[in-house]
Symmetry: C2
Subunit: 309 residues, 2 copies
């Protein structure tokens, strides 16, 4: 799957993942009205509205980008019905041949991490049958519990040819509280980065490992250091756009081959129609606004990458 991701990035020339992190305030009124008229202002109504909204965006962008990244929290907040919308979104994106990165940030002790890995990447046994649970292609993993919380994910990745992105340096303002603290003169995120490199070394695709890393666009200098520490890891870069990261900040996350990083944008793309810049599209054409935002983002990134060549 890491090979598929790298191939699709080369083909689309867009190292971009669209974050499908729907909030009700992003969903156009006409979609909400339709769903609510059918199911009422209920969790099921919300779930339907969210899936329809996602579907419109996927239809508008699937030929431009390699991947989407649904953030499961945004669905989980609507309980079971929300998770049904998550699963439908995963399935629909895969139908459109998009690589799906489940942003789940799970991580626990060994036997529990194994259950998460099974549920999101692998197959669970029921009697003599086996079933996929959520069946994403990649998931994000929290490393705080150490190797035995991460290894079960890696084991399933090897079996299923899927991958993970381990949180190394997150994009949020307070990420430094623990992640930047110095240990033997090195920040914790570098130590986690070294582990990512180690974990990934025995599960390589053609050029990159199944084990990638999350490093926020908001910390480009740290990205530069981490790029060197983890040469074989694909870096998933959140924080572009709404959180403040810019195209020029991104060059540090890429390798000399122009690969090795995939940049996420969520509301900057999915709620583009609500921005001044794309307002002329109007609510009805929200998905076209998203398409244009992807095109602009791809230009921003390739411009930045070209300027350093």
């Amino acid at each position: 799957m890491i090979n598929k991701l790298a191939d699709k990035i080369k083909k689309t020339n867009a190292p971009i993942v669209v974050g499908l992190d729907p909030m009700m305030k992003f969903v156009p009124e006409y979609i909400k009205e339709k769903a609510f008229s059918e199911y009422g202002e209920t969790l099921k109504g919300a779930s339907e509205a969210i899936f329809e909204y996602n579907k419109g965006i996927i239809d508008a962008i699937y030929d431009l980008v390699p991947a989407v990244k649904p953030q499961i929290a945004m669905y989980e907040q609507f309980g079971i019905e929300g998770l049904i919308a998550f699963k439908k979104t995963v399935d629909y994106a895969k139908e459109k041949d998009l690589v799906v990165i489940g942003d789940i940030k799970r991580g626990d002790i060994g036997s529990t991490s194994e259950a998460y890995a099974v549920g999101h990447l692998g197959k669970v046994s029921v009697g003599s049958n086996e079933y996929y649970g959520f069946d994403e292609d990649f998931v994000t993993v929290n490393p705080y519990l150490g190797s035995d919380g991460v290894k079960p994910f890696i084991d399933i990745c090897k079996k299923e040819k899927k991958g993970i992105f381990v949180l190394v340096k997150t994009s949020n303002p307070s990420s430094g509280e623990f992640q930047d603290r110095l240990i033997d003169g090195k920040p914790l995120y570098e130590i986690v980065g070294e582990m990512v490199d180690k974990w990934g070394s025995d599960c390589m695709g053609d050029s990159y490992s199944y084990v990638g890393a999350v490093v926020g666009a908001t910390y480009p200098e740290m990205g530069k250091v981490l790029r060197e520490i983890m040469p074989k890891a694909y870096i998933l870069v959140p924080g572009y756009g709404a959180q403040g990261g810019k195209g020029a900040d991104l060059v540090n996350f890429f390798n000399k081959d122009g690969l090795g990083a995939i940049v996420n944008s969520s509301r900057g793309i999915i709620a583009a129609y609500q921005q001044e810049k794309y307002k002329s599209f109007g609510e009805k054409c929200y998905a076209d606004a998203s398409r244009q935002a992807v095109i602009d983002m791809a230009e921003d990134i390739s411009g930045a990458l070209a300027s350093v060549k």
Copy 2:
């Protein structure tokens, strides 16, 4: 809710939480057969079997213990159907007036943590209505992203009078890989413990804070230090039983008032009938075996606490 938890611990004289972490291999054959005959060897069949199994255990132990802790991963591995069993388990335990600790170990950037907090502890808005998603009383939270990943949980706790347990020192063998690393001469887990104390200081119940901590029974010496660093935090102590923690190891986690800690046991209780010691109960009486295991655990703990008085 922290007051309710402390009160119930005093009343039951059992600082015990039963970990409802069902694996299919724990579920008695007769329960599986019944569920599979109705729904086939499907995810729905597994979900039904798991809920029936949990229900039997809850019925057998609800008068002896203050709380249960379903581990969501064990349900999530069965996809949507598994999460339906999780939700039914949460609801049924609450019907029996048990405090429910959702072991979800979530944690993300601010806006995303807010969605998790809403989904598990709070209410989500749909149009002019509000709905609870999973509606646990407490959840576990991963601190790797720092304050802005934890605060949204605390905000919802204040509103809903609920609580969280922040991962400080986990029970697993490799927890030390990052958590024990020294920062300015102090291990990371102590620094996280200091933050737990700080986060908890402005959301106090009668004697304890809404913000508790997870510290593994497998590390009693660290428990002693953390008990002092976080005097107002309830400590959720996993790792007793199957993971190797013993009654005598637990005294360090309690305050002088005999409160301040609640000890989890999962398979030691829910799969008691599979142990040599409780084998005579037989599979049909699995729940009675669980009840006896709770009684024995309560004695083990009160014996250990009495011996240091």
